[in-house]
């Protein structure tokens, strides 16, 4: 009974802390948003606002991809295809009247009046819900459009999933990649051009939801995380994890492999479609090159860096990727060669320090690896050269680090994969029990004693002074050996 009360108390505490945490996050978001949309916003705040939005949008996509890659254990490379479908559907359904007219009058477009008439606006009109067609209720139309976009993407997931999920491992990865590219390229074909406007795409998707109002992308991110977390800890999530761990054993334990794989695929495709809907709203338009394979690559990096299968880890990884993408631009500007030399020196010094810290923490000897001396010397040489640079012409030249962000991200990925192959947080998830250091898998003193007795009954008998049994055990083991 006492234990029950303890559990209940802890549940209550966790719920309370959860609500407080969410409330705090909402307040922070509202604060940032109010700063960013102020009359004369600070430049840094606007940028931060943008980074937060990108984090939320990519977070939705990465967390949903994690259901396939992390929970089901299937390497899927076609997530950008589902985002594209959701994006195009949402974009078309919410496109402004102005933009529609412009497309209609332009001679280059293959979109017809009928396809351009597809909008939530006209749906509501035909239903006689005129109150919902005003500018004030655009948010409701946007919500409907996003849900429809998600459903269309989920349907595509079903179509793609049923034939391809019979395959395993690498073959499946190639097939999903193929489907992603097929989706992307067929959007530009004549067959779909009336819906997609071919390679031109269309501008004029209302931007206010993804850009100015942080609660939109974050609300949908919260919904995604909620569904994914509840799914993960439900019987269905366990079945999916079983498929990841061992397909043959999962099937031998009664799990219908095809059904659960397709189910995971469809749910993930739905949320990819939702992310696509936000993505086109953020970019203010729909174009083929908004949905390159690069997107899926970024999500995969986020998943691998953060922790495959862990929602917490994926969010962390997404934050890292978005941070480098949004704030890494100083890396790509042109500096004097001497500055670059100093920068390289500093990076080497940090690396050398990290090696020492890592080896001390893991108790690896020698603590100072020879590589550290090498790195340290190289760093000192680079910094010194940078300092004496003004004396030499060569060092005065400037160098522009094109693509330095991607390189930095790649190096980060390599380092994490070497030292923590399962990602920063591994498989573990955030929980209040973890914050308070409560672990259910650790035995109490009593349990430990019992366990020791189970593994070695002699221990207890010796303690109890049961000499007779002790001898009989010795006798047994002699007889059997």
């Amino acid at each position: 009974m006492a234990a029950d009360v303890g559990v209940k108390n802890k549940d209550a505490r966790n719920t309370l802390l959860g609500f407080l945490g969410i409330a705090a996050l909402v307040l922070v978001l509202l604060f940032v948003q109010s700063l960013a949309t102020a009359e004369d916003p600070l430049r840094g705040v606007a940028k931060f606002n943008g980074a937060l939005t990108l984090f939320a949008i990519w977070g939705i996509a990465a967390v949903s991809l994690n259901l396939i890659n992390g929970t089901l254990g299937i390497l899927s490379l076609g997530h950008h295809g589902f985002m594209l479908i959701g994006g195009y559907a949402t974009g078309l359904l919410i496109l402004s009247e102005d933009a529609r007219n412009r497309i209609l009058v332009s001679g280059r477009s293959t979109m017809t009046e009928r396809t351009l008439g597809l909008s939530v606006h006209s749906w509501f009109e035909s239903l006689g819900l005129d109150a919902l067609t005003t500018d004030d209720t655009l948010w409701l139309r946007y919500l409907v459009a996003i849900v429809v976009g998600g459903l269309v993407a989920a349907f595509a997931g079903l179509i793609v999933g049923i034939p391809s999920l019979r395959l395993r491992g690498d073959y499946l990865a190639i097939v999903t990649f193929g489907f992603g590219e097929i989706i992307r390229l067929s959007a530009s074909t004549r067959l779909f051009a009336p819906l997609t406007n071919g390679a031109l795409g269309f501008p004029g998707v209302p931007q206010r939801f993804a850009s100015d109002q942080l609660l939109w992308p974050f609300g949908l991110l919260a919904l995604t995380v909620f569904v994914m977390a509840k799914l993960k800890y439900s019987s269905y999530g366990r079945a999916m994890e079983a498929i990841r761990e061992d397909e043959i054993a999962a099937e031998a334990m009664g799990i219908n492999l095809a059904y659960h794989k397709v189910l995971g695929f469809v749910i993930a495709a739905f949320f990819a479609g939702v992310a696509g809907g936000l993505w086109v709203s953020w970019l203010g338009g729909v174009r083929l090159d908004f949905f390159l394979f690069q997107l899926t690559f970024f999500f995969l990096v986020a998943i691998s860096v953060g922790g495959t299968g862990s929602i917490t880890g994926v969010l962390l990884g997404t934050a890292l990727v978005v941070f480098i993408r949004q704030y890494g631009d100083p890396l790509e500007q042109s500096y004097a060669v001497s500055t670059w030399a100093q920068l390289v020196g500093v990076v080497f010094l940090i690396a050398a320090g990290a090696v020492i810290v890592y080896r001390s923490a893991r108790r690896v000897r020698p603590r100072v690896h020879p590589v550290v001396y090498l790195l340290g010397t190289a760093a000192l040489v680079a910094i010194l050269l940078g300092l004496v640079a003004p004396s030499f012409d060569f060092w005065q030249e400037t160098f522009r680090g094109f693509g330095m962000r991607a390189i930095f991200l790649s190096v980060l990925l390599i380092v994490i994969m070497i030292f923590r192959p399962s990602g920063i947080v591994g498989r573990s998830e955030f929980s209040w029990a973890w914050v308070f250091g409560e672990r259910r898998d650790q035995p109490t003193e009593e349990e430990r004693a019992q366990d020791a007795w189970l593994t070695n009954p002699e221990l207890q008998r010796r303690l109890a002074g049961d000499e007779e049994n002790l001898h009989s055990i010795d006798g047994d083991s002699k007889g059997e050996s």
Binding site: Y236, E245, M253, L454
Partner: protein
């Protein structure tokens, strides 16, 4: 009606005839052991029954219904579960999860009600948990309390074997196929698992078909022993009768070349 009825089953892998016209009947509540030298086709037999392989010819009936051509998960639905010779646990998941997963196929809630945690789903989840604990308690306190929440990869080999047996029981199956349940266990643990298998039959009401190499375990619990060699059944009957069968001795020890050399007939090399 027999629990399991195998009639004239053949299975070949290319040119290798793994099982040749095998007949086998297992009645309800029996413990039947399948023994035989390495490569005799014991595990192939298990794979045929559980639907991993499809027999080339012949019929396999479970409780009067043919299960040939059914998928492994459909066969589990009908009530046949197995353990694996070289442990196929869900290594990164906890012991409790490992025993909850095989109950998933009995769940009739949709994924949506599972996400929303409807009262009906919560009740199911609670029932599943109690059922899992009931099955784990067959092994005494070994897998209970804190062990429930430990991932399988920290468990000892013997505990993993126990978890696998509990997992097979948790499917709700009536017929359990145990592939070497005592492999990797020391003599004490083997004695314990022998008693547990007997209790599984007596208290749990399971019918058990097992493959085993440890003859003292086989001799102690089997109602009937079936001996396979090169995919053929060479003997069947009570343990004492089977181990003294000259064909069985020949299968295990080989044919005698000369009367002066080799094992004498009084010492067949198998414990009685």
């Amino acid at each position: 009606m027999a629990m399991l009825e195998i009639e004239g089953v053949n299975k070949a892998f290319g040119g290798l005839q793994a099982i040749t016209s095998l007949d086998l009947r297992v009645e309800k509540g029996e413990i039947v052991s399948v023994i035989g030298p390495n490569g005799a086709g014991k595990t192939t037999l298990f794979n045929l029954i559980t639907g991993v392989y499809r027999p080339d010819s012949g019929n396999i009936q479970f409780q009067g219904r043919s299960i040939v051509g059914k998928k492994p998960n459909q066969i589990v639905d009908l009530g046949v579960a197995r353990t694996f010779q070289n442990l196929r646990l869900f290594t990164n998941l906890t012991v409790l999860d490992n025993v909850l997963i095989p109950q998933h196929h009995k769940l009739n809630s949709t994924w949506f009600s599972a996400v929303l945690k409807t009262p009906a789903y919560r009740r199911k989840e609670q029932e599943m948990r109690e059922f899992a604990l009931e099955k784990l308690s067959f092994f005494g306190p070994r897998l209970m309390s804190f062990r429930l929440y430990q991932p399988v990869y920290v468990l000892s080999y013997a505990n993993r074997r126990r978890t696998e047996i509990a997992r097979a029981m948790a499917t709700g199956a009536k017929l359990l196929l145990l592939d070497e349940p005592s492999a990797g266990m020391n003599p004490k643990e083997t004695t314990e698992i022998t008693q547990i298998i007997r209790r599984m039959r007596d208290e749990g009401g399971y019918t058990i078909l097992l493959v085993e190499h440890k003859m003292n375990l086989v001799g102690e619990i089997s109602d009937r022993v079936v001996v396979l060699d090169y995919g053929e059944k060479i003997a069947e009957g009570a343990y004492q009768q089977v181990v003294n069968d000259p064909k069985v001795i020949e299968a295990y020890l080989g044919k005698r070349v000369d009367d002066d050399e080799g094992a004498s007939p009084e010492e067949p090399g198998l414990p009685r």
